[in-house]
Symmetry: C2
Subunit: 319 residues, 2 copies
């Protein structure tokens, strides 16, 4: 068996180590990785000390072997997709049903920026929130990878009115992605700003913050609003919760996280997402925002950069 | 214009008063009411002092005039349905699209017990919670009108495992409706009892209680569980809320109330409900549970009885 190169800041130091080549199962593709996205989940795994796990949950690369029955994925095909682990490496196995074909005009770096961010945003906006044409969407952390993907998808797929929150140096990126209004959450009560912009309130809220925004989110939600809780970077503990805020406006508070879901779920989501968006990526109406590239050997620096919350858009590992 | 009889405990005393005959608009049916259901919404309206409103939000009766284009509703047709107000009366206008045809074998009393309870339960279980075949459902206030309807629907439509909470004297009614386990919430921690019965937890929770059950509900919810908040009889104020309970299990907390929704929504719900259930009411697989009848002249006694929370199943006003 051929040894391949593993790169991770966990395990034996921060450099490059050798591990066995992954062995594809039936239904999987063996991929030679060209670029890999950096995600908060990787930071969480480092913090949790899962030392035997190769980090990395999304990749773009080329098919080496097709162990599925899908004839699209002949060796040489360029694909991207989410994997459970193992993305910070030379090779990984990707279930064929979770593979996205990369358009000819797209680079591997751009393709590696798509799966986790856009699938998360698509799932939240379309599957969970059932976003309707012309509704108002509030996207917190608007300049994060998922945030920028959500702004683009809400605009492009549903012609939504999009309001984002971000720190001032990230406003331009949110506007460039299509936001109609970007709020400086450091100086402005965003609930008031949402109502000033649209008295109706926010039909859909994408929330990565949690406790520190909770009361304001419920306050600015519209009747029949859907509040999608993707992450709780601003804490978990809500000190007081008036259920009338949920009952009177018929709100839905929906917790979600893509990574732990089943492969069947991820496959169905990937298929629905590809059907809705492939053309839009080809024409450039959807375009991943890349913040920066790091070499695979500098994984640790890439993770520290993400932890510092300095990025606008996606951080990519590549060669 | 012919005067008709209005009965309400608000307004001019507790007896019977004369009011103008309702005038049907295009799309509506004029109904001669045979029976009317008593609902908590009526109590709320009394408490709110809406003195000029005729109480009553669901009726069964016979079509006097058909002002819609639907040929099913010729005069003489027996129908039931939810109305915005005016059910405690001789006549009321009912949008044809919100009218359910009463099966030949069914009495008006049974028919008047269907709309509010079964439509609420159907909406919660099927539309909002998207209940799947074989899932586990926890129904609080299992012997209430909505509770018994929910137990029957979860069993009949989705072969769910149904757990109910109720006080001991109401357990037999819950079992008769199809519950697999009924918990005495006065002596038993229901969250523990749910997990003892099904370690997986409750996929769907129908909650009329709110704050006093909130923590336990989130504790016994299954991964991907849907917690439908219909009412908050046990209070609104939750003192501490750990968002990880929502995030880690990907829960959905969904507030709902049928009455304030649009006629278009109620019409669509009524049509979906009729398509799914008419045959089951005809065969007796679904059967409303009637607690008691009151004469229309004893409206006040009927409402006091409901306020005392003594009923098992539906309270009906009739002649």
């Amino acid at each position: 068996m051929q040894a391949i190169t593993k790169r991770s800041i966990t395990g034996e130091g921060n450099g490059i180590i050798q591990v066995p080549q992954p062995i594809p199962k039936t239904g999987e593709l063996l991929i030679e990785i060209a670029a890999s996205g950096v995600n908060r989940l990787d930071l969480n795994r480092v913090a949790a000390g899962t030392a035997d796990l190769i980090l990395g949950v999304e990749v773009a690369g080329v098919v080496l072997e097709n162990h599925s029955t899908d004839p699209h994925f002949v060796p040489g095909t360029r694909v991207a997709g989410i994997v459970d682990a193992g993305g910070y490496a030379q090779q990984v196995c990707l279930p064929a049903k979770q593979a996205l074909l990369i358009p000819e005009s797209m680079t591997y770096v751009d393709a590696a920026a798509i799966p986790e961010n856009y699938l998360t945003a698509y799932q939240a906006l379309i599957w969970l929130a059932n976003l309707q044409v012309g509704e108002t969407v509030l996207v917190h952390a608007g300049a994060s990878g998922v945030g920028l993907a959500a702004i683009q998808l809400a605009k492009t797929l549903k012609r939504a009115k999009v309001i984002a929150t971000a720190s001032p140096r990230k406003h331009a990126a949110c506007y460039a992605a299509g936001a109609d209004l970007v709020i400086n959450y450091q100086t402005t009560d965003f609930a008031t700003a949402v109502h000033d912009y649209d008295a109706h309130g926010a039909d859909v809220i994408l929330d990565f913050i949690g406790a520190s925004y909770f009361q304001q989110n419920l306050t600015c939600a519209a009747v029949d609003g859907r509040h999608i809780l993707i992450s709780t970077l601003g804490g978990n503990q809500v000190e007081h919760f008036d259920l009338r805020l949920i009952a009177d406006k018929r709100l839905s508070l929906i917790g979600t996280l893509l990574s732990p879901r089943s492969n069947a779920y991820k496959a169905a989501l990937t298929q629905a997402f590809a059907a809705a968006t492939t053309r839009l990526f080809t024409t450039g109406q959807l375009k991943p925002v890349i913040d920066s590239y790091f070499d695979f050997a500098n994984t640790k620096a890439a993770l520290e950069y993400m932890a510092a919350n300095r990025n606008i858009g996606k951080i990519i590992l590549t060669h």
